[in-house]
Amino acid sequence: MDKQKKNSPFRIFLRKFLKQKLAVFAFGLVIAIVLVGIFGPLFSPYDPHRPVTAQYPDMGIDLEQLTSLTLEIEGLLSNGETIEQQELTQIQTETDDRRIAAVRRSQSGIRVSANSSGYTDAIVESGDVSAVSKVLVRGEIPLDDAEPTISQIRINQPDASFSEGDSYQIEVSALLTDGTEITSLDNLKELAEELYGEEEEEDTSGFQSSTTNDDDAASFQINSLTEDTVSVDEDGVVSFESDGEGLVQIQAGEAKSLVQFQVGPDSIEPVLTSLVLQSTTIELNDAYKHQSPSSLHLFGTDHQNRDILSRVIHGTKETLLIGFVSVAIGTVIGTVLGLLAGYYGGWLDSLVTRMTDVLLAFPGILLAIAVIAFLGAGITNIIFAVAVFTIPVFIRIVRASTLSLKEMTYVEAAKSIGVPNTVIIFRHIFPGTLSVVMVYLTMRIGVAILIGAALSFLGLGGDITAPEWGSMLSAAKDNSGTIFHATFFPGLAIVITVLSFNIFGDGLRDALDPKLKE
């Protein structure tokens, strides 16, 4: 008795199957994927339909923290003293391109907030002086071609006082946004001509976004703000004409600085001569679109800033549904037709076989596309379409196995004692075909998922915003062609799922193969 139990076909099958480590592993994966499909939505970190930025407040994540940075500034006076930012008055801030970043004054300095990826200049201005910081917002747009611009101009402040008729050569150095220093007036002039000269970049997008006044960004200017007392030529030589306070301003691009001269004996009030920014380059992240994978979003976010991990989790259900339901429909219809054709033979058999041959002559995906062309786009129709090309496969294998089972002695015996045909088919023949049907079932699920994903990738799934792996890839292709993570993860999910089903199916086949030794 015991021995018999030990060698029951099921036991043998189980032993053979468990021997195939890879197939067992794949089976485990299949179970895990199905569990994700059922329970996944309960655990998905974000709502797959809404931008994550809209969900941050509910989750207690401070969006400001992610996208903004505070920059300290201080002012340099002509007497060498520095003043804190609180004491600076009339601070004006702007960015070259507000679509990329915005800047405003805050309690502790200047707050720069990213809006979308790209680079722009943040300009901080106080009266006649200004300084520039480059804002780099990481994201979709590559930042490689962001050129350094002139950040600060430092003019040597002479301590001595001058008298009428003297002349003085201004000494200038400048700091670029990438940290390099320019140490002579000529070099600065050259660079400014190169960076800001001639072509002021046209805003071709049609949104004249900011209040940037392009005339402001003169390539290079050196002029006297107090024409009565001092005059200056373009090589930086200052001539003093009458007593009083003399101010010379140097502007290169958006950066401006002053130098103050005391002409004559009367002492003068110190003025603000330049602004110093804490850093010349600000790096931020674009949190509104295409966030890169991070601890917050393991798979990153897509073009509408939806969490890709959540969408992949939610998509599992849809993808498995397409695979399971279509193969189930195909299996049931195919098996019934195969049983009938194989058992009864005759005209029914030739009709069914002919139909199968024609259907099998077409590649699955085209057959499915043709069905969709008939029924129109939509998930239900995708299921139907995939079912249609699954049917002939099952007809063929079930018919073949019915043909051989029909000749079995026990079937003959059943026939001879007058068991009705329907009972013979379902009680005596059908169980015999089950094992081969099961193998094909698992193998076809992989194929069905592939074709289903391809159909929704082609836009035939109807709702293109649905979190379905194929349509996610389709949307990623159209909207995030250059973003790796947006196209990678949904596809990886398909590959892992299909591969698991295929390896599992292979293992089943080998385990059921009587030729394979234990």
Partner: protein, 307 residues
């Protein structure tokens, strides 16, 4: 042989007839009135009736089918696209070249990669190369073509900048789409070549060749491959049909202006004459491919006799 080809050609006729009927009924069975699709919903009732009359939609179905067949077979006229009002046959001819070039080059890659890897796998059976090759093929068969295409695009077009991301024009545009399309078929060919070569290696004449001291390379090249590659050729031919199916998807990925993208655009905009023409064309292609494959059996393997 000639007899066989004739018989096969005659056998194609009923299938073709059925397909034309299905394609014809397409316009009539699918939801949506063709006149409304063509001219929009705004036209008034009178013009609508006039249009129906002049386009012949009021005639009995059988008359319409007759006219459809006449236009198609005698005049080569597949009707006009609802959307662009251009002749479908012109457009199909123009796009056919694109798809043809794409599939041919894909087949070239598939055979080149498939046969090479297959032979190496078989001759170095159970070696590391063989194992890696086999695991790669089962993985390759589980990778959707469109995703593979997108990844190729990411790596070779976006990151490395070697190829353009999409579009057509030069032969460089063709490289990524054809490799993408070819790789799935290559995996099938690898498996098939491997098992075919392994089978031949077991044959007596191979053992004899080895026993008489023939060099291993000669054994492989002139004894094994010659026989093992016959079924591979036929199998590769059969895969052509699947390449055409895959082309529909790959063309969409790389914006390749072939028949596949024409079909998908047609379906998405309900441009029935386009869908009709393409379904017919694709069906005809498969029938011809299957026929050619059957005939090639006879040429490649003289043992097969057609009764």
């Amino acid at each position: 042989m000639l007899n066989f080809i004739l018989r096969r050609l005659l056998g194609m006729i009923p299938i073709l007839l059925i397909i034309t009927i299905i394609a014809f009924l397409f316009v009539h069975l699918t939801p949506g009135d063709p006149i409304r699709i063509m001219y929009g919903a705004e036209i008034d009732q009178e013009t609508y009736q006039q249009m129906r009359e002049s386009e012949g939609f009021n005639d009995p179905l059988i008359v319409q089918y007759g006219r459809y067949m006449y236009n198609m077979t005698i005049q080569g006229d597949f009707g006009q696209s609802y959307r662009t009002r251009s002749d479908v046959s012109d457009e199909v001819l123009r796009r056919f070249n694109y798809t043809f070039v794409l599939t041919i080059l894909s087949m070239f890659w598939a055979i080149l990669i498939g046969v090479t890897v297959g032979i190496i796998s078989a001759t170095k059976r159970n070696s590391l190369v063989d194992r890696v090759g086999m695991i790669s093929t089962i993985t390759a068969l589980s990778i959707p073509e469109f995703w593979f295409g997108l990844m190729m695009m990411q790596v070779f077009a976006v990151q490395l900048g070697w190829f353009p991301t999409s579009g057509s024009g030069t032969w460089i545009h063709l490289i990524l789409p054809s490799l993408t399309l070819g790789f799935g078929v290559a995996a099938t060919i690898v498996r098939f070549t491997r098992s075919s070569v392994l089978e031949v290696l077991r044959e007596d004449y191979v053992r004899t060749a080895r026993a008489k001291g023939q060099k291993e390379s000669v054994v492989i090249w002139s004894h094994v491959l010659r026989n093992a590659l016959i079924p591979v050729v036929t199998m590769a031919g059969l895969q052509f049909g699947f390449l055409i199916g895959g082309a529909v998807v790959v063309e969409q990925v790389f914006a390749w202006p072939g028949l596949g993208s024409y079909l998908i655009d047609g379906i998405l905009t309900r441009d029935y004459p386009v869908i009709q023409a393409l379904i017919l064309l694709f069906s005809l292609q498969f029938l011809i491919i299957n026929l050619l494959v059957d005939i090639s059996y006879g040429f490649l393997n003289p043992q097969i006799r057609y009764e």
